[in-house]
Amino acid sequence: MTVLGIETSCDETSAAIVEDGVVRSNVVAAQVDHARFGGVVPELASRAHLRLIVPVVEEAASRAGTTLRALDGVAAVSGPGLIGSLLVGLSFGKALAFALGKPFVGVNHMEAHVLSNLLEEQKPSYPFVNLTVSGGHTQLILVRAPFDYEVLGETIDDAAGEAFDKVAKMLGLEYPGGPAVDRRAREGDPAAVRFPRSSFDPDGYQFSFSGLKTSVLYYLRDARNERDQMPARFVNDVCASFQAAVVDVLLKKFFRAAEIFGVHDVAIAGGVSANSSLRSRAAAEAERRGLRLFIPRMEYCTDNGAMVAMTGYLRLRDGARSSFELSAEPNLSISRP
């Protein structure tokens, strides 16, 4: 069974082919124009998707050594995401499937992130706890069985990646902020500044990063002298200290969920899983607890078509079909039946 997956929920135009659960191609056209605005511009993203969709899909088919006519099904993300961006991939994908006379299935972007863990040869076993951390999402999920998700917690304000972007902006670093902060944090002292670990929802799994962001803002305002005297070291220390606070909060709830639900496997997905400190500390803690940790390779962590094609493949194989009247839903939830 050969399935095309289309991902256009934010600012990456991507298409991939999965054949019987194996990735045959994964083409991602990142839209670079957004950097100069310090964030994703929805109208700009939508226009770029419409320019890129045909070459990206054709490239995915060609790299997989197949043709669109040979497909057995088409999957496209229908939400959550930016409405204008979602509509391009969804409208294209539905029309393609309709004209090919092949089944179509709409894919939940958050489910696709969870199932990106199945793109690698080593796959987690059910049940497992998954943490999806990206520029737009921070979601802790108990995956009980195939297609059986319970959202344990989400961010009530900023996504983790968003906090990185904003702190990078305060420090005058590049966009996106994740890699910029990570790079400087490696040279800094994570204990230099004791930023608050959010005590919000101490016994639950909800996240909050806006308080941390504000305390970084106040710290920068109050520490102007130190900043002037030692700009490079100061920035490195703030990055390391901020990053330590984010990782502390994420991993505390992540591993508590693993303990409470008694899982043996834990997984991290989403673009922020590229963070070197998150990776190394999660690996160390998993090992200490005797858990197996899964983090897909980078190209499957950031938004990509492969995770959509895989989700589409599994859903179609399971008999799922979406109507050609399926529309985009910016706030689509993963736990909706």
Partner: protein, 217 residues
């Protein structure tokens, strides 16, 4: 020649087919249903016309000006259809198609203005010349267009906005998929079509820079 036409530039969602002398059209006039209903209309039109997609010679799409979201839905779907069937994509000006449909219905004559709401006090506007051919589309400020339209005939999606005009007709009554298909067929017969890889609708307006609320609070 058999051509399918898609019109989603405004609150009208219309799909039509031309095949020789016969034409078929299905139209829904309702906001925010285009993404859901477009392929259903395509399916209905093809069934009624007893045409299968592989028999099409081209897909024509109304390319603007119009609602950015509406244009994106229509063009994305048109690209998906032609990517599957390997036939050309032909773009048709939304206002030109509206003008031709309205003229055929006896609603406008030479010298009429066409005006589509471009928001923020502006209009996408074009003038029919003495031969009834629509001139280039420009973005005009409301005050300027009102002066031009005084005592003239106007075809617009906002009829209530042109009190000074002699005759005002509703543009949305004249946006039809089969007219898009017909004009698309004309272009195809002249050997014209779009490069499906790079084609974009006629947005006319540059995008407005506002960062996504999901990213910046």
């Amino acid at each position: 020649m058999i051509v399918l036409g898609i019109e989603t530039a405004t609150s009208v969602c219309s799909v039509g087919l031309v095949d020789g002398d016969r034409s078929i059209v299905r139209t829904i006039r309702e906001d925010r249903v285009h993404s859901e209903k477009l392929l259903t209309l395509v399916d209905e039109v093809l069934r009624e016309g007893r045409v299968v997609l592989s028999e099409l010679d081209a897909v024509a799409v109304s390319s603007g000006p119009g609602s950015f979201t509406g244009l994106r839905i229509g063009v994305s779907a048109a690209k998906g259809l032609v990517a599957a069937i390997g036939k050309p994509l032909v773009a048709v000006s939304t206002l030109a198609a509206g003008a031709i449909a309205a003229r055929a219905a006896g609603r406008i004559q030479a010298g009429a203005w066409l005006a589509m709401d471009a928001r923020q006090g502006e209009w996408y506007a074009a003038l029919c010349d003495a031969q009834g051919v629509l001139g280039p589309v420009a973005i005009m400020a409301d005050a300027d267009l009102q002066l031009q339209c005084a005592g003239r005939e106007v075809l617009t999606d906002r009829p209530a906005s042109f009190r000074g005009a002699a005759v005002v007709s509703d543009l949305l009554d004249h946006l039809k998929g089969h007219v898009v298909a017909m004009l698309g067929r004309d272009r195809l017969q002249r050997g014209e079509h779009e490069d499906v890889t790079t084609f974009e609708p006629m947005y006319l307006k540059a995008f407005e820079v506002r960062t996504s609320p999901a990213r910046v609070r």
